[in-house]
Structures are given as structure tokens and as C-alpha cells.
Symmetry: C2
Subunit: 355 residues, 2 copies
């Protein structure tokens, strides 16, 4: 079992170190290799996703990814910016299926912006298509407009697109996932305006015929953004495209009030996967030892389950995380009165102890 | 002052009737003419935006629009569906500037999904570009993919695009609006992924030079979806494209917990405008006399201010609406214990009386 460890920027190295500590405490045998990515890689070698890092990622069964990005790289040309590393990895490894759970932990209900009754027990799974849509669609660029409102002026453009097999495979992932949960899929589209998402809706409806035991409904993306605020618990699995999924998964994770707790997984058709916390690199608190490592530790658990065939080890980690929460340990992002504030390392140590 | 009244479907006719009643009570002279739109127009004449309705809209100084849509039209071909009427009006009249305030009324704070301290006093304005972007970009359609992940398979596609003058004019609208408020504009983009929105960001930054008294910041759309949940009061004016604006404005209005109170305006460069409530046609409660007419009444106030040059009359309506809320009158959507439940007509009558 080969794991590529890509710590990245900001708090990435600190939180990844705790997840590695937890993995090492499981008593399993892993081959782990670390490589720079994002701004750190740019500093070291002039590119956010150096060839050696990409090759390591390709050769591994799974990638444990910290986070990338920092304001200081904002003025770089786009191809050199840290986030290109994550887009490059998704594309090169074909990581088309992104799993973004939005779970509200019992003890953290009060951290949510939403009223407790709306989020207590929340457990939804957003499945975002990750290698298609307007993120990668060609052609794109700048040109002189030849039609539209102002022909003859400068314009920029991108192409949204989805092919039938791309939609089919992500729909199957969603229906399979729903089968192991509450058997309900909400497909989010904008079929009333976009050709791409009328097609999305049609293909998802077709694939649904193979999953008669799972309920399917369709919702416009604007309505989904509203319903997430109004009644998030009404959802089970949400499946949507890359762009809408980017927006809705972040909205949903913020609803829980504890984005520092939320893992994510991005898988290809060989179950090779990239695992990373849902939060970002938080350069403002980097190096201070206060970042919450639990999202990364829980990402390692997802990795054991989805890519490494170790579901028991995954369960052990998840149980240990619940135990430290029950003990009242909290990093500053999830701290509330009456609990015990701890740092990044103490939190990691506590999880190891609870194992 | 010529006003086209387009009641539309579902609760549209009921709520529009109350707004007309309020307009008639102002003691001003309007020329009003009513025409069918949406599903109602399709039933009457086979098209959701009949030529006569479009001509009336074009000839009016302002359009008061109810709402369109009903599940029963879902199986119609796209060009015949009710929502095409609203897209068609936007395009034909060049209504590029959509104003969507998200205001949390003092007495309605408890109706929000969010904790009271997060929404009390909320007053943000989302300015959405409404005639460009992927909504209208050509080419679009279906074809056989020649490249991408699955060449040779069926795919659907759309084109996202913005020209420089399109971005410039909506940026100016946003900066001008911010000048009359808290002098802060947040431009929402996805410059880290999309050519269109890197260009958007560059052009907004350039236009900002003419408005040194207004603060400008830039935010990615996924982050904006999160910040709206986390700390909505940190925003003043948000300006963004058609697609992102569709999602964020609905998310923001739902945050207030009283979408039944929120008006909207869509203007062209001649200040001709379409005014409509932010909520939809709610076919489930149509004809029952329980719909909240206040969003439509407040839309009429925006119409008086923006298109008809009657700011005092607009103020009078807004003051009257606050008065009826203070009297404790509530339609079912905003009802809470200790207040008085009223129907659509009683609410309209109360506003007239408060004038
Ligand atoms: C960094 C950025 C390119 C990325 C995306 O838009 O996919 C991020 O927002 C995410 O969701 O992982
Ligand atoms: C009905 C639909 C086409 C429309 C849109 O997407 O613009 C609606 O959602 C809106 O926001 O007015």
C-alpha cells in the first residue's frame, strides 16, 4: 500500500503530519513518500506540480493531500499558481468522482450558523463531478467578439460541456453511494437554461432505471442553494457537475459550522484516490500549531476505506475522532465554553491515544 | 407613466392585484395595461411570451411582473416553457442590471434559518448581470465529441462569455449603488479557473479606478457561498455574473428567512425596468388567498424609484410596509406566535390603509 504524502502550503504540513502519525499508529504496513506541491513546490523548483511529484502521485495507491495556496502567489501567472497543482492532479489521474460529506457532529451543533434544530444530525453527501464541465472544457480564452451585445470588443470565454459517458459514470457513483445510505439522490442541474444540464438531467434519469431501489429527484442549482439553507436535512446524496458542485459543497460544509472536521475524497475508475480536508491552507494561522488536523485525519480514514481496502482501520480512526470530541478536546476553530482547547499536535496525539 | 402589468402564473395574479391596488392608492396618474405571460399566455395563445405582451412591455416605462411557472408545463419543449418568457423579456429589453436586495426585517429575524445575531440588521444588495454569461452565450447545443475524455460520444455544451463593455457597465452600476450605501463592493468571480472570470476581475479592477471612494474586494464564488452563510453582514454590495448571481442571490434571499418580502428590479440603460418579487409562482398555494403580496408591493416601490422618478411615493410604500409589520400583521409564510395571521387581500388592504 503506497501512499503519496503531499503536504503543500500554509497549515498543510502541520495537519498532514498528524494524519501520518495516526496512520503509523494503526499497526499496518504502508509505504509512504513525501513530495512538495503547490506554492512550496513552486518555491523549490519553479512549478506547483513538478514532474517528480506527479509521477509519485501516479505510482501511489492513494494520495494524502494537505492544502495549497497563499495570497503571496496571487500575482503569478495562472499556470504557476498553487491551485493548478490540484487541477493538474485531478486531470492527470482522472479523479472524476469527488465525495464531500457534510456532517454535523453532535457536540459541534452550536458552532453552526444555522439554528441547532436545522443541523443536528445532518449527514449529507455531495458527489461532485471533478474532471469535466467548464473547468476543463475547450475552447477557452480571449478574442474579439464577432456577435453578442458588443461585437468588435474584447471578450473572454469558456466552454461548458459534458459527454454522455461522463454523466453516466458519476450518476452510477451517486446511485451506488445512496444505496449504502438513505437511498435518495438529488441531481442538481440548470436544465431550464443550459443545454449541458438538460442533457445531464436526461442521462441521469436514464441511468436511474438501473437503480429502482433508489429515489431520484431533480433540482435547479439556485433552488438547491436555497434548500441547503432552509432544510439541509431533507437531502441524502446530491450529485452535480464540477462548477455547481464547487459552490454547493462549500456552502454545505460551511452550514455545519465545523469545516475543520470535514474530509473529502476524489477517486478515479481504478479506486485510486486523492484525500484532502475540505478546508483550505489558511496561511494566516500557518505554523502556529492551532490548526485542526481532524479533517485530514478523517480524510486518511476515507483513504483506508476507498483506496486501500482497510475498512476496519477506517472505522477505528473515525471512532477515535468521536472519542476525542466526547472527551471535550477542541482546536480553536471548534472551541466553545466548557470544552478543553488544544493545539494541532495535542489533537493528533489524542486521536492516537484513543486508537 | 405607462406600466405593463404581467401577472403570470400561480400566485402571480393575486399578488400583482395587491400591488396594483397600492399603486392606485398613491394619488398619482398611471397608465396601466395587463397582458398574459408564462404558462397563462401559453394556455391562451400557445406561447409564453406572445408578441402582444412583448410589444406592451417594450412600450411601457416599467413592467410589474408577478411570477411564472408550474410543474404542469415541465414536459413542454424548452422554448414553450413559462421561464422562457422571463429570459425573453430580459433579452429583448436589454435588462442587464438585476438588483436583488437581501434584507432581514427587524420583526422577522426569527424566521431566518440563521442565528438571530448573524442576520439582525442584514442589508446586502446583490447586483447580478442579467443578459450575458452562459445564459445567452452561443454556440450551445448537442454534438458528437471530437476531443475530451470520451471522443466519439454524444455531448452537450454551452458557452460562457463576457465582453469588456458588458462587464464595465455592470461594474459601474455596482459602484454607483455602493456610493449610496456603505461604499463597499465585493466582486465575485472564479478567476482561478475560468478565463471569463479572470477577465471579469481585471475589468472590474480597471473600472474601480473611477470610484476611489468605494472599497473593492474580490472573492471566489465558492468562498462567497460560504461567507454568505458564515457572516452575511460583512457584505455591502455584491456584483457578479448571470450564473453565479442566480445561485448567490437565491442563497442570500433564503438566509433572511422571509423571501416573501424581497423585491427585485431588472434595468436597462434607459432605466426601463422589470420589477418582480424574488420568490416564485408557488403553484401549491395559488388561489388560496394566503400568498404574501409584500415582495410585489415592495417591487412596485422600486419601480417608482428607479423607472418612474417618484422616490417619495416609493418611500411612502416602504414606510407603509414597515407599519403593517409593526402592527403585527403576517401572511402565513412569515407568521410566528403572538402575531396576527392575515391573507393576501387583507395584507394589501392594510398597506393601503397605512399609506
Ligand atoms: C482551488 C480551486 C481550483 C478548487 C476548485 O475550484 O475546484 C477548490 O475550490 C476546490 O473546490 O477544490
Ligand atoms: C427561471 C429562471 C430562468 C431564472 C434564472 O435562472 O435566471 C430564475 O431562476 C431567476 O433567477 O430569475
Amino acid at each position: 500500500m503506497k501512499i503519496a504524502i503531499l503536504p503543500g502550503d500554509g497549515i498543510g504540513p502541520e495537519i498532514t503530519a498528524e494524519a501520518v502519525k495516526v496512520l503509523n499508529a494503526l499497526g499496518l504496513k504502508f509505504e509512504m513518500e513525501t513530495a512538495p506541491v503547490g506554492g512550496a513546490a513552486y518555491e523549490a523548483s519553479g512549478h506547483p506540480l513538478p514532474e517528480a511529484t506527479l509521477n509519485l502521485a501516479k505510482s501511489a495507491d492513494a494520495i494524502l493531500f494537505g492544502a495549497v495556496g497563499d495570497w503571496k502567489y496571487d500575482t503569478l501567472d495562472r499556470p504557476l499558481r498553487p491551485e493548478q497543482a490540484i487541477l493538474g492532479l485531478r486531470k492527470a489521474l482522472g479523479l472524476f468522482a469527488n465525495f464531500r460529506p457534510a456532517i454535523c457532529y453532535e457536540q459541534l451543533v452550536s458552532a453552526s450558523s444555522l439554528k441547532p434544530e436545522l443541523v443536528a444530525g445532518l449527514d449529507i453527501l455531495i458527489i461532485r463531478e471533478l474532471t469535466g464541465d467548464i473547468y476543463f472544457g475547450q475552447p477557452r480564452g480571449k478574442r474579439t467578439a464577432t456577435d453578442g451585445h458588443f461585437p468588435g470588443t474584447e471578450e473572454a470565454f469558456d466552454t461548458m460541456r459534458y459527454s454522455k459517458p461522463e454523466i453516466e459514470r458519476i450518476a452510477r457513483v451517486a446511485f451506488e453511494a445512496a444505496r449504502k445510505r438513505n437511498k435518495k439522490v438529488t441531481s442538481v442541474d440548470k436544465a431550464n437554461v443550459l443545454e449541458t444540464f438538460q442533457f445531464w438531467k436526461d442521462v441521469v434519469t436514464e441511468v436511474h432505471k438501473d437503480y429502482p431501489d433508489v429515489a431520484l429527484d431533480h433540482m435547479y442549482v439556485d433552488n438547491a442553494a436555497m434548500q441547503l439553507v432552509k432544510a439541509p436535512k431533507a437531502f441524502d446524496v446530491i450529485v452535480t457537475g464540477n462548477m455547481f458542485g464547487d459552490i454547493l459543497s462549500d456552502e454545505a460544509s460551511m452550514l455545519t459550522g465545523s469545516i475543520g472536521m470535514l474530509p473529502s475524497a476524489s477517486l478515479n475508475d481504478k479506486k485510486q484516490g486523492l484525500y484532502e480536508p475540505s478546508h483550505g491552507s489558511a496561511p494566516d494561522i500557518a505554523g502556529k500549531g492551532v490548526a485542526n488536523p481532524l479533517a485530514t485525519i478523517l480524510s486518511a480514514a476515507m483513504m483506508l476505506r476507498f483506496s486501500l481496502g482497510q475498512p476496519e482501520a477506517a472505522d477505528r480512526i473515525e471512532t477515535a475522532v468521536k472519542a476525542v470530541l466526547a472527551q471535550g478536546l477542541r482546536t480553536p476553530d471548534i472551541y466553545s465554553e466548557g470544552t478543553t482547547k488544544v493545539g494541532t499536535r495535542e489533537m493528533g496525539d489524542a486521536v492516537v491515544k484513543a486508537l
